[in-house]
Amino acid sequence: MTGNSLEKTVLVFSWTMVFILSSSVLFLLGHLFIKGIPGLDINLIFGTADPLQVLLGRQRVFDGIFAAIIGTLCLIIIATGIAVPMGICTGIYLAEYAGNFSKKALGFFFDILTGIPSIVIGLFGFSAAVFIHQHFSENFGPCLLISGMSLAFLIMPYMIHYTRVSLESLPIDLRRTALAFGATRLQNLRYVLIPHTMSGIVSGIILSIGRCAEDTAVILLTGVVVTAGIPTSLLSQYEALPFYIYYLSNQYTDQAELSKGYSACLILLTICAILFLVALIIKKKYTLKHE
């Protein structure tokens, strides 16, 4: 019976695929956990320095990942500081103000921006840095500012998308209610629409933060280095956690260093997992509110 055998094959196939996928992921992550958990202690972060002194700024950390964590934090702040307001405003424009043609044209451009590989964005940031170096200031080069801005370009399309989708998925009656009472578009946005989409937008912000934390390709080209300490200014070079991991995979000198790499992986994974869970919880609260 051909009908039955097709159905049976698809059944067996599907379950096999699920099995292969889950076991591969569990292998890759499990390996990380096994090798990384032993190395997780306060020394990983602060090295041989005293944590309190470091936090007060009186001591430098030489063999810990403290600087890398701070570097990643700075990147996140700069990138989201630029991309979140711009992205939300653009998303609002697309959802509420744009005419049909603008919507399609802009939507097309932003889809392209979303699809641009991260390394190309890094390349763009690098080119911008070189351009300024050659034409404006000899002292300027790839640095925290350039990396932050490039990361902003990376996450902006996602912010635009989340904002736009959150606004557009509001029930049409809700979108029209305040307008029917004579509110202007801006008042409608401020008092009705944005409050209702807050959770969607916030969870989008958190996902973007996660993207900044994990990205390596952009920062590779725009100023991350292996040892730079805590960034002293926007124009200085800096360290970052994902780059530390990448660098270690290539250039580790002994088992102890390698084990640090595994533990650093776990820290990065935990940071991203927490961000992801927070975004999920916020989104869940949102859907419950509107049942």
Binding site: E7, S14, L28, A98, P117, V120, G122, L123, V130
Partner: protein
Amino acid sequence: MYRKMDLSLLIKKLSCMGNIFRLCAGLSTVITISVFVFMLILGLPLFRDTSVLSLWAGPWAPQEKLYGIGPMIAGTIGIAGFATLLALPLSLGSAFVITTLGHPGLQTGLKAFIRFMTGIPTVIYGFSAIFLLVPLIREGLGGAGFCVLAAGSVLAVLVTPVMTLFFIDSLLGVNPVHIQAARALGASRIQRLLYVMIPQALPGLATGFVLATGRAIGDTLIALMLAGNAIIIPETLLDPARTLTGHIALIKAADYDSLEFRSIFACGIALYLFSAFSVIIVRIFEKKQRPAI
């Protein structure tokens, strides 16, 4: 009277937030275009000196002044192609189980697992695979271990969640009336999936495939860490290769004004065009899916 009110409202609108929104939108568009333009400008010296064909398809031999990024294009196609082909059955199977075949509790759990996978940093996959997968390949299949197979397999795992989530949305987006009709006729779960859901969801499935391909082509770290980065055209799965993305990451250390260096802009343009092209294809597919009864 109506026109007058309209006008004053317009003026009010223009002089406040609406303008800011419009500005942001404009800025974002400008950035998208300038990414492309910048690369064109900076890659110009290279384009002036070499013919188009030898640039894109030719070999790479700096000593002989040959700066063809052909091997890198081959590397990208090989690794990303292998990854996407591997990811396709994995995603289909997972999507089938999550939308219909599994027990409801399993469906939710599996979907959450897949969602979680999208949040796992790329560099972590690479790091773990270097010390887990590469030795395995080296001992089991020979070669150096750093090859298309290693990079492609891990890339497949990276790309599968994206594809699967898209497939799930497409399958679940099929008109529920048709599914209800099939149920009333006595269709089992797999029958509903095979004869009603999949045929209706085909455009969406194609879109998901194209999107995942774009993601695979654009990834830097997996290939950089696992594929060996040799500048050759890979002929078997066990050969090392270098991707366009990896090339950009590696060459930046070279002398800034050299033509060798400028080749990374050629890579950048190739990548930009690849991704723009896949966006266009996706749009065409989405238009096809619109007329769903």
